[in-house]
């Protein structure tokens, strides 16, 4: 009992720079492990040759590293950062610790889009999309983005007329329920084969994206993540409450739109490429708040970004530990590994205060 307060003082005295430094080291280490470990053994020497010297003499090893492990690690890194940032923004704008990327029904919207393609129009690819030359994962990504963005548009439209954020939150949750209900109906009328395809999509995976899609994904996130960094000042003002923020010259309605839109687009894109990965967005902001002992978004925003990336990389690593042959779905791993970590950190914090 005596040791815990001292511990917390010790934690509190850690300079944020040190924290950033150690998280950064963690990311590098996890990145390295993600490339080193896999169900097929490739020696570190080989990996060095492939990445540094571009050695293509061993075709299989080269393709595994360059076309499978590297894109997967980068996808996890970027997706984790995106989800965490989105969660942080949602929690701030709604003043609600339980808010997360999925709270406004945006990820349900993505699921609805995928359900329409997979379940309604038959096999993967669907009639409408396959005639445009879009099939498989690409078709799913596009339908997910369309679904998520249309739900988001609906939310933004509602937010123009609804003033209180609790009401908006409830409406968002309701929209999510409606989306899930429609998915249920679609599932009911589908054949097993399609339901299976839909379920597989819902498990979430960082390994889904390949080739050019990874590049597109990274570019999109490289645009969106800096945009969310620009919102730190707005978010800090929002934290003060609407009255103060308005007095300080913030256009509340516009700010709310901007934050919801950025956060929604982030979730939409991550969900489109990786499936609905639910846990990270909710948990990482809490983890960071208690690690950094601050609510200042100038610290939290980069902190959350790095922490989200770290956790996503860790989960990706566990999901495809050697011997498991990639059999674990990422969605389960994020919750299984992440939940105890976050709970213990929060528990520790609460018990010391």
């Amino acid at each position: 009992m005596i040791s815990s307060p001292t511990k917390s003082i010790a934690l509190r005295s850690i300079h944020p720079l040190w924290l950033f430094g150690s998280i950064f080291v963690c990311i590098l280490l996890l990145m390295l492990l993600n490339i080193l470990l896999g169900s097929v053994y490739i020696s570190p020497q080989q990996i060095w040759d492939i990445i540094i010297h571009g050695d293509t003499s061993q075709e299989i090893a080269y393709n595994i590293i360059i076309k499978s492990r590297l894109p997967q690690a980068i996808t996890a890194l970027v997706a984790g950062a995106g989800l965490a940032v989105s969660g942080l923004m949602m929690q701030t704008v709604f003043h609600n610790p339980l808010a997360g990327p999925s709270v406004l029904g945006i990820s349900s919207g993505a699921s609805l889009g995928v359900a329409f393609v997979v379940l309604l129009s038959g096999s993967i690819g669907g009639n409408a999309l396959s005639t445009m030359g879009l099939i498989g994962e690409v078709a799913l990504s596009i339908s997910a983005v369309i679904g998520a963005l249309s739900i988001m548009a609906l939310i933004l439209f509602v937010s123009q007329t609804v003033r209180g954020h609790v009401t908006l939150l409830i409406i968002g949750v309701m929209i999510g329920y409606v989306a899930n209900a429609i998915i249920g109906v679609l599932k009911f009328f589908s054949v097993e084969e399609d339901i299976r395809a839909y379920v597989i999509w819902g498990l979430g995976s960082f390994a889904r994206v390949s080739g050019d899609q990874v590049q597109v994904f990274i570019y999109l996130m490289l645009i969106l993540l800096p945009i969310s960094m620009l919102l730190t000042k707005t978010l800090n003002l929002m934290l003060l409450g609407e009255g103060y923020a308005r007095n300080l010259g913030l256009n509340i309605r516009r700010a709310r739109h901007l934050v919801i839109a950025t956060s929604g687009v982030l979730v939409a894109i991550v969900t489109a490429y990786c499936g609905p990965i639910i846990f990270l967005g909710l948990a990482v902001p809490h983890l960071c708040r208690s690690l950094f002992h601050t609510s200042d978004h100038r610290l939290l925003m980069p902190g959350v970004m790095l922490m989200g990336a770290t956790l996503a990389l860790l989960c990706n690593l566990i999901a495809r530990m050697p011997g498991l042959e990639g059999a674990l779905p990422v969605n389960s791993v994020t919750a299984l590994i992440g939940a105890p970590v976050v709970a213990s950190v929060l528990f520790h914090k609460r018990s010391t205060i």
Binding site: S39, G122, S130, I135, G136, E137, V138, E325, G326
Partner: protein, 419 residues
């Protein structure tokens, strides 16, 4: 008939013995209560108890012998390939035991197939068997795999209910669906119970290891008959389930002769590929949601490849069902494998560009580069509703791909090399 009576008599004796036995047991409980109270009389009562124990032993033995005698009446009817069911026969009655062929310790489903005309058969059927009266005149199928047997036996008019019709090609069943003689009964797990009752089926063919929802159907009182043909591990074994369905619908001889024909042709085809020297390797499956769904080395498909003079790339794998692999595992093992089997459903003409559009990494496989993809489009070919009962066509398709010189004039039906 004399023997029949004798059995009936024995059965009634057995029942009587059983009631006696219960009475004796009840008595013995009472006596043991007395033991506690009247300790003094211990030796006498003990003697009494041991006597009753002896007696109950004897009755159990008689019961067992009756049951085993009943069992021994039935002579096994050998099946050549199928491992998922076994048949025993006595006169016109058939006892069928059905279990998952891919598992050693699987649940056994017991069916007694009894002609409707036969009366007073109760004494002839061992305990635990569900009685099905034949010929089955109205039945419900759950999958197109089950439908394939009825199509082969030209008995589609007996199908009164189906689940999904998305990949249905059979014109007869389609016509039945339009005229209303066959109806949809909902999806697996969510059946329309009222519709099922209205259809008054004699039996319902089910796939008991799938999504389920059968518990609610048990109340209807229609016997549920498990059909596990799709779990068999070779084409001929799957086709042999035709005999089982033949038994159900009283088309035994027809089913036997059709199967015999298939067997002969299949064996002669096997003879063709037996001595081929070059056995190319082949892998199977596609990437879905970041995982590769393939099948084990002891599966139906692996056996088919072997019969066609090829070799499944994971032939050392001990599994008989599906397996999930990650990309690097499959890629490291199949990168240089010349053939790749894919079955899916696609609107329009599937080609190498369409395949690549689903995943850019496919281009790194030799089978992609050298155009070695063996493809079947379920959207255009009656794959599931015919293939199970056409093992020879399936085999010929494969031989045509791996060893075209063996079947120079053959035109493939389901699978062919993707162009």
């Amino acid at each position: 008939m004399g023997k029949l009576h004798e059995i009936a008599k024995r059965k009634s004796v057995y029942l009587q013995a059983k009631t006696n036995n219960m009475l004796v047991q009840r008595n013995s409980i009472r006596t043991s209560l007395l033991v506690v109270i009247l300790l003094a009389c211990l030796p006498i009562i003990q003697g009494c108890q041991s006597k009753s124990k002896n007696r109950s032993k004897n009755t159990i033995q008689t019961a067992l012998t009756t049951s085993s005698r009943l069992d021994s009446l039935y002579t096994p009817m050998p099946l050549s390939y199928a491992k998922g069911y076994s048949v025993r026969q006595y006169k016109n009655i058939h006892l069928v035991n059905i279990s998952d062929p891919q598992r050693k310790k699987a649940t056994i489903f017991r069916l007694a197939i009894v002609p409707r005309s036969l009366k007073d058969t109760k004494s002839l059927i061992p305990q635990g068997y569900t009685v099905i009266h034949t010929p089955v005149r109205r039945l419900i199928t759950m999958t197109s795999l089950q439908l394939s047997t009825l199509i082969k036996l030209k008995a589609t008019e007996r199908v009164v209910g189906v689940t999904s019709t998305r990949h249905l090609f059979n014109q007869k069943i389609k016509a039945q669906l339009t005229s209303g003689t066959t109806q949809h009964i909902g999806i697996e797990g969510q059946f329309d119970k009222e519709r099922i009752m209205l259809l008054q089926p004699d039996i319902i063919l089910i796939s008991p290891f799938k999504r389920g929802g059968y518990d609610s159907m048990k109340d209807i009182g229609v016997p549920l008959v498990p059909y596990l043909g799709y779990k068999e591990m070779s084409p001929l074994a799957q086709a042999e389930w035709l005999k089982f369905v033949g038994l159900l619908i009283n088309k035994e001889t027809q089913a036997d002769s059709i199967f015999k024909g298939m067997e002969q042709e299949y064996l002669s085809l096997l003879h063709l590929t037996k001595h081929v020297k070059n056995r190319p390797e082949v892998f199977s499956g596609e990437m879905r949601g970041g995982h590769w769904y393939a099948v084990g080395g002891k599966s139906f498909l692996a056996q088919l490849f072997e019969d066609a003079g090829a070799e499944y790339f994971m032939h050392d794998n001990p599994k008989s069902g599906g397996i999930v692999l990650d990309f690097e595992t499959i890629y490291s093992q199949a990168a240089h494998v010349p053939y790749w089997r894919i079955v899916n459903s696609y609107q329009g003409n599937y080609d190498y560009d369409a395949l690549l559009a689903t995943n850019a990494r496919y281009a790194d496989f030799d089978a992609y580069k050298n155009h070695g993809v063996i493809y079947c489009n379920m959207n255009k070919k009656p794959y599931y509703e015919q293939m199970p009962m056409e093992p020879c066509v399936l085999l010929k398709d494969m031989i045509k791909v791996f060893h075209p010189e063996l079947l120079p004039n053959y035109t493939p039906v389901y699978y062919s090399l993707l162009k």
